[in-house]
Symmetry: D2
């Protein structure tokens, strides 16, 4: 019986195991079987691996994936945009499926807060058939109702996976808290979300983008993505000193717009201090519950700030991301973020690279054994 290999998280903080699952022979109505060509290692995967979020083990991680359609179930003839879908098409998909019927889906039009949302690579126990619900595998079986997007021929998978969930998360966040042209923007963090935020702020006409992050190779990426100035948190370890450095760039009142893409709760306090009165502050990076901070709410009233949160994304944000990537220089920019490729067997090395901030973006190439992969995976 043919099998499919997957890199499986079986216990927190333990090496992923390569396991084999029965190959999918038949697909149900609306389902799609996809041969995985590239699976991004998201920073969230590190948090999952560390056990910081409640997930069912074992799990096949991987929620940023591109692949080729191998089988299509009955009734699935078009992608989410209405483009015809055929065997062999290269596709990506929204990582979550929502119910469409609950209080948040219907009444509040906030499907990202659907009460029964499930995400590939996160919410599915790999012990349960059909097992293949994550990107760290040779194949993934997409449920009926998944928002699938055919990738335009001239858009490399590196662009799509390099942009990953960071770009669509940023697009959603910027929808909830728009950057206005002419804004002076501070981006806290130069991980994938930070880089996406830099690119989006630039794209929306920010007058000036100041990025705070590190290490140096990521600050260089930040400048490539459009930051006018970068501040190295290692070089300036004091928040008060960083504030002075930021104000040198923004002018004495601070930023019109700040976006938190760090994840450490302390970043929120620092970010508020970087805002001018009346600024918008998008708190985009507090995905994990990393505990409490000491916080003074007086600043919200006195500075008449807007603090805006945003969670996940919807299929229409994937649509916008693909259009954006396909039509602008961001195609190359995000592709360039993919600095490390690994074979499936080297998933632990890949994860480690991300954990140690050594890569731009690290990806798995489950079905390939070419030179590009060997470069980093060997």
């Amino acid at each position: 019986m043919p099998t499919v290999k997957a890199a499986v998280l079986t216990a927190f903080q333990q090496p992923l195991e390569i396991r084999e699952y029965p190959a999918i022979q038949e697909v149900g109505a609306g389902e799609a079987l996809v041969r995985v060509e590239m699976a991004g290692i998201c920073g969230t995967d590190v948090h999952l691996w560390l056990g910081q979020l409640a997930i069912p083990l074992p799990v096949i991680m991987g929620h940023e994936t591109a692949g080729r359609i191998e089988r299509l179930g009955a009734g699935i003839e078009k992608d989410w945009r209405g483009n015809p879908l055929s065997l062999g098409d290269r596709v990506t998909w929204a990582s979550s499926i929502v119910c469409g019927e609950c209080y948040y889906c219907r009444l509040k039009r906030q499907p990202t807060r659907c009460v029964s949302r499930k995400a590939y690579g996160i919410s599915y126990c790999a012990d349960q058939a059909p097992h293949l619900r994550g990107g760290y595998a040779e194949r993934i079986l997409l449920r009926a109702g998944t928002a699938i997007f055919r990738i335009p021929d001239d858009l490399p998978s590196e662009s799509v996976v390099g942009a990953g969930c960071a770009l669509v998360t940023g697009i959603h966040g910027f929808e909830r808290a728009p950057v206005e042209w002419g804004d002076i923007v501070v981006v806290q963090g130069t991980g994938p979300v930070g880089l996406a935020a830099i690119a989006l702020a630039r794209h929306a006409g920010a007058a000036r983008v100041i990025a705070i992050g590190g290490p140096p190779h990521r600050l260089e990426l930040a400048r490539n993505f459009g930051a006018d100035a970068t501040i190295d948190v290692a070089a300036i370890p004091s928040a008060a000193d960083r504030r002075r450095a930021v104000l040198d760039e923004t002018g004495p009142f601070g930023a019109d717009y700040a976006v938190e893409c760090v994840g450490h709760p302390d970043a929120v306090t620092e970010g508020i201090d970087l805002c001018r009165d009346g600024a918008r502050y998008l708190v985009l990076g507090q995905y994990a519950d990393a505990g409490n901070i000491s916080f003074n709410p007086h600043a919200i009233t006195r500075k008449q700030l807007q603090l805006i949160g945003s969670w996940g994304f919807e299929p229409r944000h994937v649509d916008r991301a693909i259009t954006l990537l396909a039509g602008t220089h961001l195609k190359d920019l995000f592709a360039s973020e993919v600095t490390h490729k690994f074979a499936l067997a080297d998933a632990n090395k890949a994860l480690d690279t991300v954990r140690r901030w050594q890569s731009g973006k690290a990806v798995l190439v489950p079905d390939a054994g070419g030179a590009g992969v060997a470069n980093h995976g060997a």
Copy 2:
């Protein structure tokens, strides 16, 4: 030489002193001398008295005032709305004057954050001529540029001073974070700002207004002002229990809109817990820097909240307040909030009444000695 009596804060946490200042004989261009008929005791005055804000001593407090014009300087012929202004007219005014030229006034159109804003009853040292810059006095001299409003004849001073700076602060806050009709609204606090928020939420079509506060006489006011349900913080001292009580009223997801009118920093944490995902949360009451709290910013991202601050108000909010009071049942409602009247000599009793939450709204009536005043002041 004729003199003017004033109740003066000379030292923090010490009784106000009645002092006499030289009467104003001549007024300069654009100035107006006003005989004070009624001066509200604002909760902020208690904070000033306690020394919680940096102000120059001695100071004549009183920033919620109505009176009659006694002298008008050259060139001042109309009120802010363009109505003709004459000696004897009953007026009120915006308590602050802004520069109109700074970064916040001009470029960011946020004059409430003007870098050189000065407020009657707060920012002026009473030792400096012309001394009379606060409402706790028989006369007040308004500077050129003050936004003066003639009070419509059929609008009692009790309505205007009863509404006080709470209503205009609320109007500004609700402008920055509008209540939409049909919203389920939670109001934290039943002081003057809380009552104004209840009235405004109701007026804007809130489907349901739940107020949290106390003591019982203020919860009764809250119901009069339009709260559908009230929760007594003394009866339910635990925030977790209060949350359950609120969710019983809002439904299991929480409020569409919450507004903090408490002033204690802990209220912000509690308020966030009362919000449904995607809610707007107006942080309106953190006027004083009351210190840090333990706070988890994860909720902002996960619940994709909007936290919105608002500071002070502009003349146009006074305009809206007067129109609102004059044209609706709120005229009587806010007048009914004035439960205690005191003579100027009893300013300390008045302040104490507010400090102990014994009154609806306490006011000074500097120039009167009638029964109404004696009732409470004696």
Copy 3:
């Protein structure tokens, strides 16, 4: 074989015919068979009868309907809000079904412009099985995917059908162009949409509502619904004179907000003249293509107006309407709008009543023969 009676539009401008269709014996998955208790005669039905919109004949009109569930197909256990649904429940439903997949449904989140939207009572040819797709009938068969709403027990069908599609259309329009509290609002038209607009403007805190319309019995309704002033188009036939009358009520600059609920294209020119500079103008009533007018676009630029259109409504607007009706005095107000009830056999009389503006709201009561019906239908 049992049959179901329906009043059918077989030819434009000809009397409706009572026809009989095979009774529905079995309902498919997701479908619901409803015994019609009350069907509103909408002004649009008159336009349909006149042949002013392209529809397939014959058609069973009726898109504002309440009834009781007689059969439920497999898999339909809850209403749109998640309330359990049982045989005998009194329900109403959104009149349209959209595809959920097209450019407008998905990418632009404007399902009211779905490219394949179909509406009960309008879009279905009665010759095709299962025939029963309109409210002017003893039964209606609801397709799978219909947004069904259980009507709360204490909310009379008269409220729901009296509000009809006018209220939900208004709710959608006011969502796209919100009335802000304190706005001075002019409502053009006192038909059902105009009355709904008056009620909604009042509910959202309008400072003043001026209604233009007629005849006198509808102006009285307008005042009941909350208009502060009414202007009779028959009494003041000149638009220039009406403008003077309106400005007497609004003040010399005109309305902050105007809403067109007339349907005659000339109303748009008149409405623009009633707006102050910078006003919002909701063009809500131009449902039929009633031809061109002479128009000067200079006013849009010079007055820096916002003209906003809105089409139809979504299920969530029905949800808001039911909540609004159930929770406020609007329940009684809209019920009072139902002034005429007719038996199915008297459908032509009912239509004629609406056409001649003789009723508040006229309804069919297909399954009843009681006194109330005979009152008007006899």
Copy 4:
């Protein structure tokens, strides 16, 4: 007695006359005397010359001007941004002064509709002292209260005058009707306002900009300014054919955003046809009352459009324009729009060049006689 030369419009449709006025010897408090270095010929000047707007004759036209400060009145030490202002500084200024006190200035915060707004080059009769209130002159005397902006040293006057009132008008319009990143934008018209709209749409992240206009040399400018596609109205004279050409570029539904920068009223009808349902349509060019058109308002309702007007601009839009020009490649782009320079004596030639659409932007250089001027003016 020294005199100042000016090109004066003394009668509509007649050649401007060179007249001499007494030189200004003393300037009052707050006033500034400026030596004109460059004065733009705006399309509106052609409309003024034709007599299409009500203005007092004779008038010194010219409302897009840069020059150097020659005298400063008492009390004027800073420019609008707070920068120190000295003799010899190169400056530009907002062309209008508003009262700051009327219904529109105060209550509605729409100073562009101030009831007593006056504009240099338009509203001042040249017969009345001090005469020099327009840019077509060697000197201009700026009233107290004029919003003066020091031009950054590295920003050429060509950029500022090339951008002219078109850019600031566009900035105001785009503030009232923002382009969102990813929008597909159609710009009607390739005059100065059209070019500014193209540049701003591009800057705000438009996915695609399609410009309709002509003649060919302006379409080339349009492409330089960022249009992805241009449509020549002379080559495609039929609106229906142009619509097909536009939809080829936008996709079958039309534009997300359209902006009218043409001025002919028929452009509005055409623009509506180019919009997808739910689009925003900024009607920016209908400055003159050019008469009525045949118009069908049904489209506003059915397509649920937003039509938004915008008039003039405020000082803060000049601030944004200067920042934008100084900080981006738009500096060079708008400077390149200045294709023709004329001496003051050749003002009629300059006006004629604009009238015949022969230039990018034509300017007067009142005080210079250099080669660049001779090139076009001779």
